[in-house]
């Protein structure tokens, strides 16, 4: 890269008008005949690597967190947690057997009966506030750990995951002594011990969404993080020790499907909160139906981003890009279907391609990386399979020509045009950086197509017309409808699904109601 400027590139070159040649330009302008103009996103100004260097303080091995202590798994077995950007082992994670899960439930039940249930709300609130503050204090450390273990770009873990996790603890801490006000005239009581199973896409944030309302309301918790992303949960367990949270209020057991089944099916669980795929959610629902255990399910999605011709175009492009490529598309509410009005479809797709040309895919720890690593080999295979189906079913694929790192699980941002409702890529949740583009002619058609899915988690509307926003928000069957923005979250705002995207809400007063009994 040149660090000095070649004098020959000084004023006057590039357009020639200042050299008295502007007659040519005027002629050019009047005839308006040109080759198709293109923008050049080349290597004139390459950015040097800008890695985040804070230490993540990850231990080489993590035990289970039961009764306030780290205890070895009964089986003595551990499994590797992999950094998806390098395929190197980050840490070894304990494999919890049903016996370990039983111990965790016992510890939770003890804590519930002897300490937590009867502690005044204002005292419980102090602990939750303390957790929030400690998380804030150690935000950088947690962000780096989250990125190393899960592959998401550091700018997202730093600017979104960790601050939002802390915000959920702050928000629910404030509720701890005000529970009587969420249902006036009713007596508000905790449920008991709650089993929680969370996914790998936002490991720390999903943990916060689950634990914060549960313990603020006086419940105790047995939580199982996802198999591929347990590190920040175990670091969080260390933070709970620092916060002095009474032993057993929160227990964290790690493992894969078998461990999850033990958590979900334990008889001491008064409620199960699950976030994950619709497929697994249905299995859990079937098994819980026999026992009448309360449950909330936050499952898959196939959100439609509906762009009308009068939309603020560049902001809509940005919203669509953010909607599908945020966190490599590993977002249950990702805007994975673009419904764009036919009159602007070509122009809009051209702009999407231009925007994709400047997405930076690569080392998740680099502060300039926009799209990081796919969470696991398994997920990468699934994305490849669905993209293959898109091609073989006749949709047209576009990917930018960006270089991918030689190692690790990476996938280029991908868009498909010419997609119809019957394509697999328009129906199945891909959970990757793959956008399916469909068109519509009228508002009714847009609503019909957007709702023609088994999912109903989120949707986006892009238009300059306020009345259209209001009607779309009513007609779209989705738990969240964003207008002229996308992927906006706030602890005060309830989040959850319609149809087979689940039931129950997280966040806000509604979310808290799912963690209490009204007497």
């Amino acid at each position: 890269m040149a660090t000095t400027i070649d004098p020959s590139t000084h004023v006057g070159d590039g357009n020639g008008k200042q050299d008295g040649k502007h007659d040519d330009d005027t002629k050019k302008k009047s005839s308006r005949k040109h080759a198709v103009p293109e923008l050049l996103f080349g290597d004139l100004w390459e950015f040097d690597p800008a890695p985040e260097t804070a230490s993540p303080n990850i231990k080489p091995r993590y035990d289970l967190f039961i009764g306030g202590q780290f205890v070895a798994p009964q089986s003595g077995q551990y499994f590797d947690s992999i950094n998806p950007a390098t395929e190197e082992v980050v840490s070894q994670i304990a494999l919890a057997s049903p016996g370990d899960v039983d111990a965790a439930y016992y510890a939770a039940q003890m804590a519930y009966e002897t300490v937590w249930r009867d502690m005044p709300g204002r005292e419980r609130g102090k602990y939750v506030y303390r957790i929030a503050r400690l998380l804030q204090d150690r935000a950088r450390e947690f962000a780096v750990a989250e990125t190393i273990d899960g592959g998401k770009p550091i700018k997202e873990s730093r600017d979104f995951d960790v601050p939002m996790a802390a915000a959920h603890f702050f928000y629910h801490a404030g509720w701890a002594d005000k529970l009587a006000y969420i249902a006036p005239g009713r007596r508000v009581e905790p449920i008991g011990v709650v089993g929680q199973v969370i996914p790998w896409n936002f490991p720390l944030l999903m943990l916060a969404w689950k634990i914060a309302p549960a313990i603020a309301a006086g419940n105790c918790v047995v939580l199982k993080p996802a198999e591929t992303t347990s590190v920040t949960a175990m670091k969080f367990a260390e933070l709970l020790q620092d916060a002095g949270l009474p032993d057993g209020v929160v227990n964290i057991v790690t493992g894969a499907g078998e461990t999850g089944a033990a958590v979900v099916n334990h008889p001491a669980a008064k409620k199960i909160a699950f976030t994950g795929s619709t497929e697994v959610g249905k299995i859990i629902m079937r098994s819980l139906a026999e026992r009448g255990t309360r449950m909330t399910m936050e499952l898959g999605g196939k959100a439609a981003n509906v762009v009308f011709e009068d939309a603020p175009i560049d902001q809509a492009v940005e919203g669509v890009i953010n909607g599908i490529f945020f966190n490599q598309g590993h977002v249950c509410c990702a805007g994975s279907r673009l419904l764009v009005q036919e009159s602007i479809a070509d122009m809009f797709v051209r702009k999407l391609r231009q925007r994709m040309a400047v997405l930076r895919v690569g080392d998740p720890l680099d502060k300039n990386t926009d799209v990081g690593a796919i969470n696991s080999r398994e997920q990468l295979d699934r994305i490849c399979d669905l993209v293959e189906s898109g091609i073989s079913e006749g949709a047209e694929m576009f990917q930018p020509s960006c270089a991918l790192p030689p190692r690790g699980y990476f996938y280029r941002p991908t868009i498909f045009t010419g997609v119809t409702q019957s394509h697999r890529i328009a129906r199945e949740e891909i959970f990757g950086p793959v956008l399916s583009i469909l068109t519509f002619r009228t508002m009714d058609e847009a609503v019909e197509r957007a709702n023609n899915t088994m999912y109903g988690l989120s949707a986006g509307v892009w238009t300059d017309k306020g009345s259209r926003i209001l009607r779309m928000a009513t007609d779209l069957k989705a738990g969240v409808v964003w207008a002229n923005t996308f992927n906006k979250f706030d602890p005060t705002s309830p989040f959850g699904g319609y149809k087979e995207s689940g039931f129950g809400r997280e966040g806000g007063r509604q979310g808290l109601l799912d963690y209490v009994e009204l007497a």
Partner: protein, 299 residues
């Protein structure tokens, strides 16, 4: 107005926040800083300007630093009365003499007088004219009249390049800024510029209003093939800010705009901070504060 499309305030401000969070290190930083130096329109626009101050400004423009590897700036920007002095100082250099005209900064004079001033400036030797649009007409809804006036100024410029100041703070909304950008570009020639501000009213260039304008430039270019330049002016005081602006150019307009024939910074104190940061980047340490002043014409 509607044909140019709306701009969402929240969305555009989120977009530019991403530019400002880019982390520019080492050689890429040095390249950005040095490129920014070549894009500066070193400016003095004060009632108390004298030939002496302009002479000092021109010498600074030719050789911004005693470090000879630092390139000269793009232009000096002054009032019409001082063109002759600047012309004398900048003879045999590639540095352009830019003059404000058209009853700068308010533009509140008759069109005839404004065009006369443009012709005076061109005859006095200005290479570039920085005009102001008629915000009064714009806000009154007389868009065609605004465009006709700009076209008349283009005509009066002859071979001089034109920079059209929208005075974005007075247009107030992003929708207006986008519309005014198009009104201007439709009558400009390739190599002419649109510019944010005079620097004389509160609220000058921001990343967001500059982004609205460069997105308009991009859309206009893709539609017509005509490449218009961009000049944010006022309020850009630090090297770090300048880098954010250049990141926006790199990621919105691409490499073809990363040079001073298509991008300028209207600034006075920015140059000294660029020099300070270049020195720091090369030596690894800051110099004492008195090595670089805040004044445009001194070191």
């Amino acid at each position: 107005m509607e044909q140019f499309g709306p701009v969402d305030r929240v969305g555009i401000e989120e977009r530019v926040a991403k530019f400002a969070s880019r982390s520019i290190k080492r050689s890429s930083k040095l390249w950005g800083l040095t490129t920014a130096v070549t894009m500066v329109d070193l400016t003095t626009l004060e009632g108390k300007d004298t030939p002496g101050k302009v002479a000092a400004l021109c010498r600074k423009a030719r050789r911004p630093s005693d470090d000879v590897t630092i390139p000269p700036v793009a232009a000096v920007c002054i009032y019409p009365a001082l063109i002759k002095e600047a012309r004398k100082q900048l003879a045999d250099t590639p540095i352009k003499v830019a003059s404000v005209a058209t009853a700068f900064p308010s533009g509140q004079s008759s069109l005839k007088v404004r065009l006369q001033e443009v012709k005076y400036a061109v005859n006095a030797g200005a290479d570039e004219i920085d005009m102001v649009i008629n915000r009064g007409l714009f806000l009154a809804g007389e868009y065609q009249a605004v465009q006709d006036e700009i076209a008349a100024v283009v005509e009066a410029c002859g071979d001089a390049a034109l920079k059209v100041i929208l005075e974005v703070a007075e247009l107030e909304t992003y929708d207006n800024i986008r519309a005014a950008s198009f009104l201007a570009m439709q009558v400009l020639r390739p190599g002419d510029f649109i510019k944010t501000s005079t620097g004389k009213v509160g609220g000058a260039a921001t990343l967001a209003n500059t982004q609205v304008m460069i997105e308009a430039i991009r859309d206009f270019y893709l539609e017509t093939g005509l490449a218009i330049g961009m000049k944010p002016a006022g309020g850009i005081k630090t090297a770090k800010q300048a880098l954010h602006y250049l990141v926006a150019v790199k990621e919105s307009l691409g490499d073809a705009w990363l040079n001073n024939s298509r991008y300028r910074f209207g600034a006075s104190s920015l140059l000294n901070d660029l020099l300070r940061q270049i020195h720091k980047e090369r030596s690894g340490a800051y110099q004492a504060p008195y090595y670089f002043s805040e004044a445009a014409e001194s070191y």
